[in-house]
Amino acid sequence: MIERMTHAMHDHLREITDVLVAFDPETLARQPVAKHEVVDILRHAGQNRAAQLVERLPERDGMLDAHAIDRLLVHVHCELQRLSEEFQHGQRMADLLRPMLAALRQAGAPTPLRVLDVGCGTGYVMRWLARNGGMGEEVELLGADYNAALIAEARRLANAEKLRATFLTANAFRLDQPATLLISTGVLHHFRGDELRAFFAGHASERTAAFIHFDFQPSWLAPIGSWLFHFARFREPIARHDGVLSAVRAHSGRTLLNAAKQGLPQFDTALYNTCLWGLPVPRPFHVLVGMRPALRGDFLKALGWRRRMVERWA
């Protein structure tokens, strides 16, 4: 109940990085953003501190300076990567990805098996998997994001370490060659209401067989835990602000399961690993896994001892 109340209180709040950039939904072309409009949106939502942070950002003729915003977003993602590293996120994703890929191979899914990170940012997860994951030669690691600057940074970083991962400035659900398996990290809470159902509906392509989505888990611990962690670990004020807000705006497991069931009824969906070692200690992230029903048995078998962490099928 506390989680529902917290969620309802924060549902109207906006993350700063969500309102600093705008893209044409069809062409993904960057659109100019008026600084005063962003400030007004945040003040209207009662986010005065956020409005102050935006007021400090550079502008040109009243419009937010796109280059400065891109540099800021790259910097924010560098700090976000630290959070992923401290929580061993690459390994956690790999622990689920390997059994899912095993199930896909068992089912004879056409190769290459395309694993696509939706809203990949600077591509940390795909770069980590390319370096450490050992996914196999027939697996293609892809990342997609609307923001060309973040994708350029992802490519630069992948090239610097000669990592086999491809990054695209694209809508992940409108690729010429759809993905076999869609993943994401910290993306779901950005979609609210009908947008969340539409997000899952976007998975409904003939080739797409499964998904693994990690996102913040709301809990009684999330607000204070998130604040402490971001205060201790993040330097950029906007990254701190958005990081804390992400935790309090997170969707409950029930909301995610319902949205997936409504948007993508042809998939079996479940929550995975919501509590620490079976104790009543909520994890910072929960995972929504989904797959075509034919894959379920092989996936659970390939999970091995981790299968007991699969909770609440929708």
């Binding site: 401290e86 962690f229 205060f231």
Partner: protein
Amino acid sequence: MTLALLYLLGSLDGAFTGIRSAGGRNALIDKQRHYAIAMLYGFLVGQILLLSGVAFGMAVAYLAPPREPREFLDRFVRAGDYLLDVYLPYGIVMMCAFLIRAMPSVDIRSMTSVLVFGPLTLGRPIVGALGMAWALWHVPDWRVGMVCAYVLLAMLALDWILIWRWRMTPTT
């Protein structure tokens, strides 16, 4: 032994401050070189600050009344024992967390960050001040207090020095 242990703890603190200051500044996957350089930098700058503390201590010993260096050293060593009462457990907990982090469990590794490194980093200035207060409670000597305060402030300033250094260096 007391002074050697304090110097060792200060040196480790410098090295780990270097590592901490480097977090979130490099987006490559393999960061061994990045952290190795950062640790070395923190260690070296920490040495400069510690040695400046030694020099300050010697100046206090020889110049501050009653100008009895041997007596001052004895009192400082006694105070150092009380500093170790606080700083040694702090250091041991940190080192143990690093050892635990080597375990092949994502949950255990994550917990060392959330439950140990994060809180102890936030508490570092408080631990520093508590150690000094504990030492001065048992050895109330203004000269000892001056030297302790100098070294404490210098080691806390190390964070700011390294932040300044990173501001001059572009993020990778």
